[in-house]
Every structure is written in C-alpha cells, then in structure tokens.
Symmetry: C3
Subunit: 390 residues, 3 copies
C-alpha cells in the first residue's frame, strides 16, 4: 500500500522523486554507452594474439583522450556565449559517441602505429567529426541525433583514406607477427549493447520512440546474425563458417538500422535492413578483401569497409527510401532527398580529406613509425618479459 501524504506535500514529493529518477536514469544510459565504447572496442581488439595489451590499453587511452577533447570542442559554442563548458553526463555521452568514430578508424591501423600516432589520429578525427556535425546542423538543419549517427560512415572513410596513405610495401604479405585468435566475446558484447547505443540519442520525452529504437535494433541484429552465418557458410567452398564474418557482420544490421533510425517505424523494416546489411557485408568481404589490398593498396586490419562503411551507406539509403515513402507531397520528398544527398556528400568528402591530411602528417618520420618486423608486437611498447608470459 502506498503511503498517504497531504496533497501539496505529495505533489512536491512526487516532483522531487521524479527528477531524482530522471537523472538517475541518465546514469544508466551513460553506463551503457561507456561499456560499449570502452569494453566493446577493447575486447574486439584482443583478437590480435601478440598485441593484446596494446589493443586493450591503447583503446582505453584513445577513448579517454578523444572523449575529453570532444567535450571541449562541443562546448566551444557554450563557452563563447556563457563563458562555461558543460561537463555533465549528457555531454559525456555525446562526447563518447564522437570518440566512437575515432575508435572505429583506429581499428584499421592497430598494430601498424605507435601510441603517439593513435592519439594524433584521435584528436584530428574528433575535430573533423565535430566540424562535420556543425556543418550539417548549420547548413542543412540535420537533427543532432541523425548527424551523430553518421559516425559509422565518417569513421570508415576516414580510416580507409588513412590506411591508403599509410600503406606500406610490407603489407603485401601478412606481417610476421600478425596473428589472430578471433574470440567472439568482444563482438557479443557489442551485439548486446548495440540497442542502447542506437537508442541513447532518441529524445527522452518520447519513450515509445526510444523503446521502438531498442526493439528495431534488436530485431535487425537478430536477423543480421542469422544471415551472416548463413551467407558465410553458403559462400564458402567447404561450407564452413568464417570467424571474421561472424565477428564483424553480426553487427552490420545494428550499424545500418542505427543510421536510418529516425525513419524506421515497423519491425519488418528493421528486419529487412538487417538482412540486406548482413548479405552485403559478407559477400563484399568474401570477394573484395584481397582485391582491396592489392589493387587499392589498403590494408584494412579490421574489415572497416564491410563492417561500418557499407552498412552505414545502406542505412543512409534506407533512411532516404523510407522517408520518401512516408511523404505524401512529392515536393517535400524531393527537397528531403536533396538535403539527404548533400549531407552524405559533405560527410564523405570531409572524412576522406581529413583522413588524407592526417595520413600525410603521420608519414612524417618525426613520429617514428614502428618497423615492419615490430608491427603487431606488444614488446615494442610494453615492458613485457617473455618468460613470464604463458
């Protein structure tokens, strides 16, 4: 039985408690994004056998520096007008999502760079991403949630431009110490927390939309996992599963549905997007990976293009199609299409050019890149005594 209070007291009590709950919930969301950014990406990196410390440790460092940098950059406007930068949980969540775009790109460079490189990349990429967001929001009036969700596209193209510039002859053969042990646990973590990640930017005041986002993401991920496994098996000559496919492409549906989130309203839409994303990623990865290495001179350690790039583009396309379908008035539809295409063009050109600039900066020998035979080796950066390791 609920206790009884005098009405006036009761109202105030209710309001106070409500606020209390409201702000405590912010913490739950913050925690989920935190787990995803710090732990998900950290675990993902442990697939490099001789590079486990670096992958986990450097990921933490980069995440932390990129987040702090993003808090500062996002706060410039507020600092200009009010002389203060906000540092509350909301601004930390947004900053962590900006940091996520840097962590995506860094996946393609793990093992071929030193920590100073990684920190430089993170700072430049976050700056570029915040600039991109500002352009989209100012020029094209794209809502904040939508422009942040382009992080997959931005991160993927930035990372690809970067690897293309930093290509080394040594990448044509596998590196001496580039050994994999694909544990699926990192992916499973990301898989589980992806619904939070996609729903965190949906407006609090429309809980149904928020729960809808969680539900759509779950369905897209579920379809995506089954599809990736099936396509990987069917496209293999011996009918076997490929661990890399399972690791990356069970997430493709989550990426695609995240980018198109604000236009997805029906379960079947989410499931179709998840299905298409998984098919696309798995097939492209099966037939294009070696091709990319040789023809385009891109050594893509963590399958950036097919994990984040293509599903991101697919999500963008799905967003466009669903939005046009929902429009009654053709003028509005055309107008939306023009804006939507412009926002993609701006994002891609900015990410590619920032990636190329960053790459050229890093080519400078001043930063002492690791030699080919030190690539993918923890011992280059850590005081590890081999005898004490297993």
């Amino acid at each position: 039985m609920a206790p009884r209070y005098a009405p006036s007291l009761r109202s105030r009590l209710v309001l106070t408690h409500l606020l209390s709950l409201y702000y405590l919930l912010s913490f739950a969301e913050f925690q989920d994004v935190n787990v995803m950014v710090i732990l998900g990406f950290g675990f993902l990196g442990t697939f490099l056998v001789r590079y486990g410390y670096s992958a986990t440790g450097f990921n933490l460092l980069v995440a932390v520096m990129a987040t702090q940098w993003a808090v500062i950059l996002n706060g410039i406007e507020s600092w200009y007008y009010r002389g203060k930068i906000r540092a509350d949980l909301r601004s930390l969540v947004v900053a962590e999502m900006c940091a996520a775009s840097a962590l995506i790109s860094i996946g393609a460079l793990l093992g071929k760079t030193n920590p100073v490189h990684l920190v430089l990349i993170a700072l430049l990429e976050v700056s570029g991403f915040v600039l991109n967001q500002w352009l989209l929001q100012t020029l094209l009036k794209v809502p904040a949630a939508n422009s942040i969700m382009l992080l997959h596209i931005f991160g993927a193209f930035f990372g690809l431009a970067l690897t293309w510039i930093l290509f080394r002859k040594g990448s044509l053969q596998p590196f001496e110490k580039e050994k994999f042990d694909h544990r699926l646990i990192g992916s499973v973590f990301l898989w589980m927390f992806w619904p939070s990640f996609n729903s965190v930017l949906v407006d609090h005041r429309s809980p149904w939309r928020k729960l809808g986002a969680v539900c759509s993401t779950y369905l897209a991920l579920a379809v995506s996992a089954v599809t990736a496994a099936a396509v990987s098996m069917l496209s293999s000559p011996k009918g076997k599963l490929n661990p890399v496919h399972m690791q990356s492409f069970i997430l493709a549906g989550g990426v695609a549905v995240g980018v198109s989130m604000s236009a997805v309203h029906q379960p079947w839409e989410a499931m179709t997007i998840g299905f298409t994303a998984a098919v696309l990623s798995t097939i492209v990865s099966r037939y294009l990976k070696t091709h990319m290495l040789l023809a385009f001179e891109c050594h893509d350690t963590s399958a950036l293009l097919s994990t984040h790039g293509l599903p991101g583009l697919l999500g963008w396309l799905a967003h466009l199609l669903l939005q046009i379908k929902a429009c009654d008035d053709p003028t509005v539809a055309v107008r939306f299409a023009v804006f939507h295409i412009c926002s993609l063009l701006i994002t891609i050109s900015l990410s590619l050019s920032m990636g190329i600039i960053t790459g050229l900066l890093l080519k400078w020998n001043f930063w002492r890149p690791p030699q080919d035979n030190k690539c993918f080796d923890d011992q280059a950066f850590w005081e590890v005594d081999l005898n004490t390791k297993k």
Copy 2:
C-alpha cells in the same frame, strides 16, 4: 530545488515523465535477461578448449533463432484474434526465457552435433515449451510466471532424453578432442545476473515482491556458493575443490529458488533452499556421473541433471511445501497439491517425449552428424588456420 509548474501542466508532465521512466526501465530488465541468455551461456561454453568458436557462436545463433521463433509462437493467439503479432520488449523478454530452455538442453550436446542439429533442436524444443506453457495455463490455470520458470525442468529432461537417444559408443571413452579448461568467469556472469533473471517475471505493480525476489535469489546463491565449495572439498579424498562443481553448483540455489519464487517470503526459506540444492547437486554429481554414462548411456557434457534438473525438482518441492504450510484450509492445500503435481507430470512427460521425438529425428543420417574424431573440434565448422592460432 524542483522547478514549479502550473498544477494542470504539472500533472500531465508528471504522467508523461512517469510513463517515460516506466518504459525505460523495461529496457533495463530486457538488457539484463539479454546479457544472461547471450553472454552467460556463451561464456559458459568456452570451457571446451578446442571448441570455443563453436560454443560461443552457435550459442548466439541458437539463442537468436529460438527467440524469434518464440515471439512468433507466443503471438499466435494475438494473431488469431487481432491479426497482429506484438514485438515489443515485453514479448522479447518472455521469448528469451523460452529460448533459455533450449540453451540449457543444448549444453548437453555441445561438441557432438552440427549447427543444423542445434537449430532443429532449438525450434522443436521451443515449440514444446510453448505448448507446455499453454497446457498448464489452460488446463491448470498456472500463472504465466510460474509456468515459464519450469524452464529448468523442461530443459534438463528434454536434454537428457535427447542425449540418451543420441548416445554413441564413442562416448564411453572421452573423445579425442574433448578437452576442458574450466574458466569460472562464465558462471560468475550467470551468478551475478541470476537475480534479474528470477525477478523479471514478477509483476511490476508489486515492487516489494520484485525486490524480495532479487534479495531471495541473492541469498540462495550466496549460500549455494559456500555450500558447493564446502561439499566439494569434503567429499574429495584429497580435500580439493572440483572446478566442475564450482562452475555449476554455485548456481543450484538460483535455479531452485527461481522455480519456487512465488512461494518464498522469508530470507531463511531462500537460504535453506539454496543450501539443500547445492548439497544435492554436488553429492549427486560426485557419485552418479560415471554411473550415468555407463548404466544409462547418457553422455551429459555439461552436468545437466545436477545443474538444472535436480535443483529444479527441489524448487518445485519447496514451492509445494511452502504453499501447503501457508494454507489454513486443508481442502485448499490438497487442491493446490493435486494441481501442482499434475503440472510437474505434464511438464516432465512432455519434455521427455519431445526430447525422444527430436532425438529420433536427428538420428536420421540426412543431417550428417560429425564423426567421433571430429567431435569437440572447431575445425569441422570454422575456416580456422591452425598456424594463426596460439
């Protein structure tokens, strides 16, 4: 200081925010069950050294397919009357719990089956489980939460019937590649999220009952962990702990108290149930395991009987006794006992018969079961290059 609003606005604001919070909390519960089903069972399987990919990857696949199938089956009634199937977080949570019963059974078959087998088992078992629930709810008016909690009993007996049918002569010796590395981390994950799992079906409108469920489960698990360690040590000739006992039987209390949840009201009741469950499981496992393999021809990879079966039965018994104790009127008590015994009989006979049917179907060579020397080996299903593994 809480902000002030005009009263009418205030009421509406309060209601809107409240709904918002209410639905956001659903997400927290969904996430906990999700972690438990996907991650807990996924980690549990990594104890098979040469079978880590398959255990984690196949568990994800089966969980995802079983959940989608359960959403459809649970929605048949609603589809019949309203032409629609609900796919919201609530229906996903219930579906994931149905999927859990399939994941439990599959534990007994890991390493001796191929993915097609596993998917077939999952689909058939979920169908059986949903049918069982429907029978209990229609014939005996068992509340939904209680009938779903019988998943441990259903899963265990289904799995045992299945291993009995699928017994191979090869199981009499350990398989060539059946190597264990019992990490306790998977169990520790399950141990931590068990209180969520047991409380998720308790009615939202009685928060005290819900917190009571969390608290009872925690106490039962705590007592269970200490007891399992003590009994394992005392029953060993050299006074050593057995990793399998620690891995499985620290959870026995959670299983037992989950099945009897709606009748447990006092801390001491939960603690007694946890203690008895751990003693029972540890002793049965110590003295019966080899016996079961030889006499009953059951090769039970993950100690199904003593982890889920016996604690489940114990929980059922505790529920009966506590309910009878709480009844003032002997007529009511007898009536309850009859219904309760019938519900167990239906569950066990349905699970055993579905298990036998599934087993007979899988014996068909069309499904190409793995040969004995390929059992417990990732290389049969994954494109793994041994040279790139540690």
Copy 3:
C-alpha cells in the same frame, strides 16, 4: 499521448508507480556494486597464470562470506533493539562495500595462502572494518558514506600489516610458479563501474549530488588513465609502458576521488585529484617496489600500497583541504581538521593492529599454509588434470 485518469485515481497511480520505480532503481545500483565486487575483483585476479581458478573462485567465496558476515554485524544494533536483522538490497549494498575492503587486502596474499586462511582474514577484517565504522560514527559523528569510503585505506594497511607478518624468506626470489599474464580486462571492468561504486552511497534524495559524483569520478578516472600511461612511459629507460602500472594506476583517480567525494564540487577539483593520484602511484611503484620487498619485508602481490593506500591517503588530504577552503569561519575549519585527522588515525591504527593480530593468528601451523613450491599453483587446491588443460 499519455492516458487520462480521474484525478484522485491518477495521484494514487502516480505514487504507486513512483514507489515501484524507486525500488527498482535500488536494484540497478545493487547490480552495479555486485558486478564491481564479484566480477571486477575476480577478473583482476586472473593475472596469475597458474592461479586462475583459485583467484576467481576464492574471490567469489570470500566475497560471499564477507558479505553475509557484514549483513549480520551491521544488523546487530537493529537486532538488539527490534529483534530482527534487515536483509534488503540497501543492507546488501553496504555489506558488499564492507566486503570490498577484505577483497582489497586479500589481493596482497593471493597465491601464498589457502582458502581457510582467506575466509579467516575476511571474517576478521570485516569485523574490524565494521568496528572502525562504528567508532567513527559514534565518537566523531562521521557520516556513514564517508566512513565507508575509508575502505581503501583500511584495506591497504590491513593487507600490508598482514603481508609483513606473514613474510617468508621464499619471497626474496620470485616464487617458482608466480607467473603473470596481465590482462587489462579486469581493470577495464573496474574502471567502468567505479563511477557507480563511488556514487552508490550518496543520498538518493539529492540526485544532483549523485550525478555529480558519477561525473567527478569519470573525470578523475579519465585524467588518471592518461597520466598513468604518460608517467609510466616517461619514467621507463626505454620509454615503454609497464602493464602493472596500466592495470593498477588507471584506477588511482577513482580511489582518491571516492575518499574525498563529499567535498568535491567542481570538475577541475576531480581532475586535479585524479592527476596527482596517478603521478604519485606510478612514481612510488616505479622506485619503491623492490625496496619494500627487501627493506620492509613486505611481499605485496598486487601493489596494494600504491593502488589503494596512497591514493586513499591523497583523497583524505584533498577532502581536508577542500573542506577548509570552503569554510568561512576559521574555528569551524580547525574543528573539522581535528576531527578529520582523528578519523584517519583511528582507521590506520585499527587496520594495522587488526592486520597484525590476524597475521599472528594465521602464522599458527594448525592452518597448514602452502609450501613455497606450491605457492601460486592451482593444483594445490583443485582437482585439475594437467593433461586436460591447454
């Protein structure tokens, strides 16, 4: 659109739901502390290669027994006056934090003790810690949240006194089986859940304070991670990172800011504390560790002094300085300083003397300590067949 109800019904509905939410949130907090205590410390221990079962398993056992013992001890007063001990989620959270002080100390003894030792230590330390809390609260009117947060200082000095008493000549060389494989995952888990840990004791009725605690802890941890990496690299002759530093000192900021929580109000204060803690811990550990082993005969397996002891003292100092800065009236400031210094003196002397008493008790050969060549070896306590391990 929110549904409409009659006003009177609406109020009652709001209150009931509100209570429901309120109590459900308690569960979220409980779960976070639970994850931190059980999983964080469990993972942390897996850095001992040949001692993984024992570290994870014994940690669970000790955590569970210490928590139950703390529930009983904390309930003595209530039992005396009302004849009942409360066992709800709130009392479990407080009890788990008491258990955390025991888990901290046990870190220094892992591998050199048997489970009976560990349980004895846990029971004695929890008793000491509860006594300390009672003294501080009764004599010096220290608020409960502040006195519990001294757990880092209590745990560190108790552990150091204990290792000093239990010092063995064998520790002068590394033990035969003391092999490390520092995975950073355990630390990353603790890093992520530290904001919950620090905010859980802040009063629910001031949500801003609670979110402030989360935010301060996050900032302190972020600064601490970057600083620990930088100092570790700069102080190394070859400019390499030390895994132990990364593992332990990214957490130093969280410890320090936790102890000074009730006086930290500005982001820059939290960041300064995090920075100082990381510098202090890393430098002390770099230059003092071997010294401590030889001169003070303390074999500190898990860098207790520099992970918990020094950051705890630093947090205590920061609390004092910030509180004095905030006082307008010098009399109040002096009064506070005297009380604050007394509370530290009581805590340190009680922890050292309890540690020494516990050590002397454990030296008794009746408890059969493991021989030097059995130290850090799972096989002493577990039925492990070497052939079945990797």
